[in-house]
């Protein structure tokens, strides 16, 4: 903007740019390195380490301060100037730090995890590129830039999911992920275009900032117009009614729907969530960074950015969808046997919580949960990575034909992998939301606010907090099941193959350090000194909405206690079922089991209802093109050919025919005359008679 920035601000901006650009530089350098170069990992890690430090400085400077905003003219199109710049407020600073902070352990972990891969440097090229896109996404100040990085994030995720591109499943998964994300992108693009048509600017700060335009506009009388009720009383009458062109109100809804589509695609919400479980075909470290901690949170981040756009009704829809997604994903996670799939569905479920929180107005809690979830989910994925890595090791060493990700083969690993076991327990407890973990703080905040929100609303909407509550117990169950199956009991693989060798361990420091780091971050002290009251968390306090109710009502006490006591029971039940086997076992043929195991059949339905018809449409179009349009052309061609034939015929038989018939006449006269000299008696006679006749006639006539 025109206002000169302070010197310190200038420094902060350049720090931000450096933090964003360093991974890009690393990515470009790695791209130029030979594919097997081992230096790649350290280049990327160094870039992200420096980026992390810079982000921390930026965060410290920006947090709870005036937002920083700077921009430069990018290009002009018509009369519209499109700017590119950086917007740093609480939200973006938080995400900036969070992403770098999560990316750092993942990078370290990856250097060991991908050590034996043939395309080691490519991996880090992609990973750094992802970091660049993600960091740029969070600091971008223009909707166009935002969209650009939004899609680049999806693109790098595409590259990383399909990193082992010779695996057919991986390739299918990355195609699916990209196309589903594209659906969301279309929604976002439409929303951006609609907002641009309404407000004539792409600037996020001008649109959604403190004095943003969007706040003062709302659906009114069928027009998307200036809404007086949204206008703060102390704000000047800069925007007067009718000063801007307005669109019909329906476009406000469509814009919101578009943004919701984008959120649903990126954050894997129903109905666009099916790509995320498939995306687990990528390397596990990638799943940890992209598909658990950062990229999938971008949807929530987008909601946070454009929050003022949504009206109350639209927020309710969001809450419903979030709740439903959380519940559905949790039920599916109950029965999956693939280690990473369980975690993927739990991610979807937790993202559902965040959307739900956005929907019920728990803006702060949502982002708080986003931050805590990023740490413990990343941790869980890295744990899964270690387990899978060791299982793979067993598989290769003993030449077994097993799926290293199947939890049915595992068990009793706590003795072999003690460190992994401990951090896994920390992560799981955080995921369940047991006190003393960060998950407790953020999740209970969501639940409490959801209940508060449903006060005074219709009875149906009370289902939302109830569903969320129920889902949290489901979460407790499936997480316990997972942990129990992996770490407790006996190693089930030994039953089938008693003579296998087990040379497994927690791995080197590249494995241990990230796990410990993340485990520490998953505990309460990072966020709050008070392990029981979420509203005391510094992160929440800075982001909480203005009209936040302090511990006034009963929910604040009753819910955490109720949830946690029941959760503990559920955990014990899981332990009892899967380790002791002294209680009932689940029927594996029931409808609910199959529904859950087959992921609610959504993939199949999509395939039948959407993919097939679209391919069919393509075929039909092509048929139409070949036969109708081309056929039309060909029939015109045939017609003209027929005309040509006709004229050719005319030429041959009419025009030429005239000449030929003249010739034929002459010839026939000749032939005729010749006949009289052909030696036949009758012709002589004939001619004689003819002459006589002619004489007669002449005589009569004359």
């Amino acid at each position: 903007m025109g206002t000169a920035l302070l010197h310190t601000d200038q420094t902060i901006i350049s720090y931000t740019i450096a933090a964003v650009a360093l991974p890009l530089a690393a990515s470009i350098i790695n791209f130029c390195l030979p594919v097997k170069s081992k230096a790649a990992g350290w280049i990327s890690t160094l870039a992200i380490l420096v980026g992390c430090v810079l982000s921390a400085i930026v965060f410290a400077r920006v947090w709870n301060q005036q937002p920083l905003h700077t921009q430069k003219l990018w290009f002009t199109i018509g009369n519209t100037k499109v700017f590119a710049g950086i917007l740093l407020n609480n939200l973006s600073a938080l995400l900036l730090l969070l992403v770098s902070l999560i990316a750092l352990p993942v990078h370290i972990y990856s250097t060991a995890y991908m050590k034996h891969d043939d395309r080691y440097s490519r991996y880090f090229t992609y990973l750094s590129f992802f970091c660049f896109s993600m960091l740029a996404l969070v600091v971008a100040d223009s909707m166009v830039l935002f969209y650009a990085f939004w899609e680049l994030v999806g693109f790098s995720s595409y590259l990383l999911i399909g990193f082992w591109f010779t695996k057919d499943k991986a390739v299918q998964a990355n195609k699916k992920a990209f196309i589903m994300n594209r659906i969301g992108d279309i929604g976002l693009l439409s929303a951006i275009i609609i907002i641009f048509a309404q407000f004539h600017t792409f600037d996020i700060d001008a649109l959604f900032g403190q004095h943003g335009l969007v706040k003062f506009m709302g659906p009114d009388n069928g027009q998307w117009a200036f809404a007086p009720d949204r206008m703060p009383s102390n704000y000047g009458s800069v925007w007067t009614r009718g000063a801007m062109t307005t669109l019909p109100a329906i476009w406000q809804y469509i814009a919101c729907a578009g943004i919701f589509l984008a959120v649903a695609a990126k954050s894997a919400q129903f109905p666009l969530h099916t790509w995320l479980p498939d995306a687990m075909e990528g390397p596990t470290s990638v799943s940890a960074l992209i598909h658990a901690a950062t990229m999938v949170a971008a949807g929530v981040f987008l909601l946070g950015r454009v929050y003022p756009l949504f009206t109350d009704t639209e927020l309710t829809v969001l809450a419903v969808i979030g709740c439903f997604t959380a519940f559905m994903a949790a039920t599916i996670a109950l029965t999956q046997n693939d280690l990473k799939r369980v975690l993927a569905y739990s991610t979807i479920s937790q993202l559902g919580y965040m959307i739900l929180a956005m929907g019920v107005g728990a803006y702060g809690s949502s982002l708080f949960h986003l931050a805590t979830h990023a740490f413990f989910k990343c941790l869980l994925f890295l744990v899964a990575g270690v387990v899978i890595h060791e299982m793979q090791h067993i598989k290769e060493e003993n030449n077994l034909d097993i799926d290293p990700q199947n939890i049915q083969y595992m068990g009793g690993l706590r003795k072999k992998l003690p460190l992994t076991f401990i951090v896994a327990i920390v992560g799981s407890l955080a995921l369940i939301g047991i006190p003393l973990t960060s998950g407790y703080l953020s999740k209970d905040g969501i639940l409490i606010q959801a209940f508060e929100w449903s006060e005074g609303r219709s009875a149906w909407l009370k289902l939302i907090p109830a569903g969320a509550l129920f889902t949290s117990w489901l979460t407790a169950f499936y997480v316990s099941r997972l942990i129990v199956k992996i770490f407790f009991g006996e190693f089930r693989l030994l039953k089938h193959h008693p003579d296998i060798k087990l040379h497994i361990s927690d791995g080197g420091w590249q494995y241990r350090v990230p796990l410990i780091l993340l485990a520490v971050c998953s505990l309460f002290p990072l966020f709050s000194l008070n392990p029981f009251f979420y509203e005391k968390a510094w992160l929440f306090e800075s982001l909480k909405p203005a009209e936040f109710m302090a511990r006034e009502n009963i929910y604040h006490t009753i819910i955490p206690i109720g949830v946690n006591i029941l959760s503990v029971f559920v955990m014990y039940a899981a332990y009892a079922i899967y380790v002791k086997r002294n209680t009932f076992s689940f029927p594996q043929t029931g409808f609910f089991y199959r529904l859950s195991y087959n992921q609610w059949y959504l993939d199949k339905i999509y395939k039948k209802v959407i993919v097939k018809p679209i391919l069919g449409l393509g075929k039909t179009c092509f048929w139409f093109d070949r036969n109708i349009i081309n056929g039309l052309i060909h029939s015109i061609e045939r017609l003209s050919r027929a005309v040509a034939d006709l004229t050719a015929w005319c030429d041959k038989y009419i025009v030429d025919g005239f000449l030929h018939s003249m010739a034929a006449l002459v010839q026939s006269i000749g032939n005729f005359a010749r006949k009289f000299q052909n030696g036949k008696v009758q012709y002589y006679l004939y001619s004689m008679l003819l002459i006589v006749l002619v004489l007669f006639i002449l005589k009569i006539l004359i």
Partner: protein, 101 residues
């Protein structure tokens, strides 16, 4: 009363029929029949006019001569036909083209 014209018209018709046969037929015998027809037409005329010559009976007498001559010519013609057939193995006048230049 039957007038002279009636006879003449019948004769004319017969004459033309005969002429048609002579010109068109591809069989010598049919040609011969045509000739006979023409002759008969002529005889009919002679007879018809002969009605008005009671004294000399010119018409009828010449009719008789004509009949006799027709018999004679027929005999000769048939003899020729037979000879032609013997030589050419056909009696189609079209096939006999030795008169051609």
């Amino acid at each position: 009363m039957i007038t002279l014209t009636d006879f003449l018209l019948v004769g004319a018709l017969l004459f033309c029929t005969g002429m048609y046969m002579i010109v068109s037929k591809r069989n010598s015998i049919q040609v011969l029949i045509g000739i006979e027809l023409m002759l008969n037409a002529a005889i009919l005329n002679l007879v018809a006019f002969g009605k008005y010559d009671k004294l000399n009976n010119g018409g009828q007498v010449f009719a008789l001569f004509a009949i006799v001559l027709a018999a004679a010519t027929t005999a000769v013609a048939l003899a020729i036909v037979l000879n032609v057939y013997r030589r050419y193995k056909t009696i189609d006048p079209d096939e006999i083209k030795n008169l051609r230049d």
